[in-house]
């Protein structure tokens, strides 16, 4: 099966039902996308498909109908995406395990919504669990990233 991830095309030899999460992690070695629950409850596995945030543990390889972007494709340590830069500036991460998913959810939301209000942030970001409870900084970083994106 063919899969485009972070702009690169791959031929994947795997079961049609294998969740994208495990294709990314165990076949392509893209381990920035995390496993946390496997049942769409934690958001640690969030990636973009054609810009939309999806839970990669829930989408089967055969159902990936677009280009996949993972945290590695969003930005890099040398050239972070504005959302990642906001996360760095606010020092959001504690253990950091949820943060790939948090950032991918936030980046997709901001691409769609411009400057979301707190209710919109609540609604969208509550799908991402942070066991370390970094929520105040997540919220601050989102507002900050929204401003940065708005001013280009």
């Amino acid at each position: 099966m063919e899969l485009t991830v972070n702009g690169q095309r791959h031929q994947i030899d795997a079961e049609a039902g294998m969740p994208l999460l495990w294709v990314l992690r165990d076949i392509l070695g893209l381990t920035g996308t995390k496993y946390g629950c496997g049942i769409a409850q934690c958001g640690a596995c969030t990636v973009h498909i054609d810009g939309m945030a999806v839970r990669s543990c829930q989408i089967a390889l055969a159902d990936v109908g677009g280009e996949v972007t993972t945290i590695e494709g969003l930005g890099t340590p040398d050239a972070p995406h504005p959302v990642q830069q906001a996360w760095i500036d606010h020092q959001v991460a504690q253990c950091g395990y949820c943060q790939s998913g948090q950032i991918m959810s936030a980046a997709a939301m901001l691409a769609l919504q411009g400057e979301p209000d707190d209710q919109q942030i609540d609604r969208i970001m509550s799908a991402n669990l942070c066991r370390c409870a970094t929520y105040p900084r997540i919220r601050a970083a989102i507002h900050d990233a929204a401003r940065r994106l708005a001013t280009g």
């Binding site: 079961e15 294998m18 969740p19 999460l21 495990w22 992690r25 165990d26 076949i27 070695g29 381990t31 920035g32 996308t33 995390k34 496993y35 946390g36 629950c37 496997g38 049942i39 409850q41 934690c42 640690a44 993972t70 945290i71 590695e72 969003l74 930005g75 890099t76 340590p77 972070p80 990642q84 996360w87 760095i88 020092q91 959001v92 991460a93 504690q94 253990c95 950091g96 395990y97 949820c98 943060q99 790939s100 950032i103 942030i121 609540d122 609604r123 970001m125 509550s126 991402n128 669990l129 942070c130 066991r131 370390c132 409870a133 970094t134 929520y135 105040p136 900084r137 997540i138 919220r139």
Partner: protein
Amino acid sequence: MSRAGRIARRGFLVGSVAIAGGVAFGAWRYTRPLPDPFAKGLPPGTEALNPYVLIDGSGITLIAPRADKGQGARWIQAALIADELDIDPAGARIEPGPVSKTYYNTALLQENLPVDPTDTGWLAQTLRAGSDVPARLLGLQITGGSSSVPDGFEKLRRAGAVARETLKQAAAMREGLSRADLRSGDGNVILPDGQRIPYTELAAEAASIAPVQDVVLRAPSQWRILGKPVQRADIVAKSTGTQRYGIDLAFDGMLYASVRAAPRGASVAKVEAAAAKGMRGVHSVVPIRDGIAVVADNTWRAMQALQEITIDWAFSDLPGDQQAVWDSLTAALDAAQIDSRPRDTGDVENALAAGAVIEAEYRVPFLAHAPLEPMNATVRISDSQCEIWTGTQIPDFVVAKVAALTGLGEDGIKVHNQMIGGSFGRRLELDFILQAVQIAQSVPGRPVKMIWSREEDFAHDQPRPAQIARGLGRVANGRIEALDLAIATPSVTTSWFGRVWRALPGPDATITAGAGDQPLAIPNYRVTGYRANEVFPVSSWRSVGASGNGFLHGSFLDELFAAAELDPLQGLIDLCNHDVSRRVLNELREISAWTGRAAGQGRGRGVAFCLSFGVPCAQVVDVADTPKGLRITRAFAVADIGTVLDPVNAEAQLSGGMLFGLGHAMNCELTYRDHVPEQTNFHAYQAMRLHQAPEITVRLLENGPLRGLGEPGVPPAAPALANAIFAATGQRIRELPLSRKVRFA
């Protein structure tokens, strides 16, 4: 000399050894014969080096031996060294020990807490109580009890200072100058004419001279990194998906595995695995102790195949339901199985007999650790060696247990500690590591990465214990006359030591921690711990005993304040007999603009205080009843940790600890049915999500002794919230989670 200074001088010196192309600086520690099997190693009278700084031609490596599970321990350990060494820690390699440089593996096992076993001073007592480590086990390398900062504060800075001065001495000898005329900065020795010699060039020479011991540690006013808001070294990696955790490791030829283990008290009776064995990618089905593992060519295939295996369990006659837990706790209280009575002031019996008594029963549930990174370990076994890549807080116990399991000598067990995606105490357990070792034994020579499913994680956590407490109190003349709190709980310490080593006799301070040790001058004041039978194994959960006791004590105290018609914050301040704690309470009153519980129609404010791990922490929670349910609208927290070494991270720990406490108090419990928890994944164990997280204001004070902050933010949160709900609604909730009684928005 300060107490810390005396301990440091007596406990260790900083020395150096040559390594290939460079030098290692570390703490020389006088070894003593210790009776326990894990402190083995060097013959009595000899010395061992625990290195902290390695410099060779290729760069500088800082060793941060305490495990990092999100509390920033790795970074702060590096910063302590780097501030004295005059380097930018972000430019150094930061490694957890033990690593592959074999010359010090044995030595690193003797990593110490900073107190002598015979030291009975206050600091020593606090450290021991705080980390729940009996004196005779103080030779072990354990991350826990918020101990990493106090442990490293003296030792790591001294290692950095000795390394710096020795490098300067090497430069002085090379240039024919006096060390006193040289300076240091940014990884260089600076000559009087401004010329800079990189440390890396001086390393080999530094290895050949005696280390300079007479260093004076810098005063806080001279610190460059410590105490300043700096960017933690792991922040960029953790914001770009490039941080590697144990679960992310990959090796050539690596196999993947997952397991299903027996419910509590059961064993495997019959396995039907034919279908699983024929599935794509499945390498083998491996029986392990009380469970089954599938080894496959990726994680998902292993997990899928596990689901196709039918296992019949043979159950023992141990009880398997939640009711048995409540029964055992009630029985413990009634049978007066007194474990300890750390507080017995005045004459409680007489004071209670003098008038009307307020009586209340409180309950707290089991709670799962459920860190977001599921348990995992990667293991490769050969004839003579077992290598383990995992995140653990107790590497010494890993070595000892794996040695026993495999029959390999302890020298053949290598633990490569990994960055941890959350722990909350879960990584103080060995279960998952021992499973991974058994699996690896079935495929000698090949690395196997074992990952638990989230369902396995919930099924096999050893939770925070459930508790029942009975409070008796009397108020008169506008004051609290008597408070008598009886707490029943199984012993976390006994349960845990029984698993990782062997059960220890004697009372367990965690049964009453956070209740029996509070700095309050109530005239007739008694706190008693009752040891209940362990129905299900229990473990340390962030803030350990204080996590539940903080709620029991802080809520019942609030009941008595209410009965006496006292303002609860003023009441705490008036009762407080510890200056550092009183200043915390006063600061909380300031920042929360406290004027009382009342906050208008449908609103209320609650306050609670708990001193745990040597840190006084006080919190205010504001709630409002809304059409969608009850909402936490604001929260305030103040703690005193003596010296704030990393302000950005300390605030995150206090805020995170408080929210962690609030989320579990609102939404979480683990209840057993048929030998397993009913909660199988995060849909049934929500903790806190963003929409429930209030705006939070935190303040750190620096009046007390230097302490860590990973845990003390947790205990006051639950009672502050319950007390706020009482203020808003008049409803006194004596049972967690609060969602059993109120609906949260």
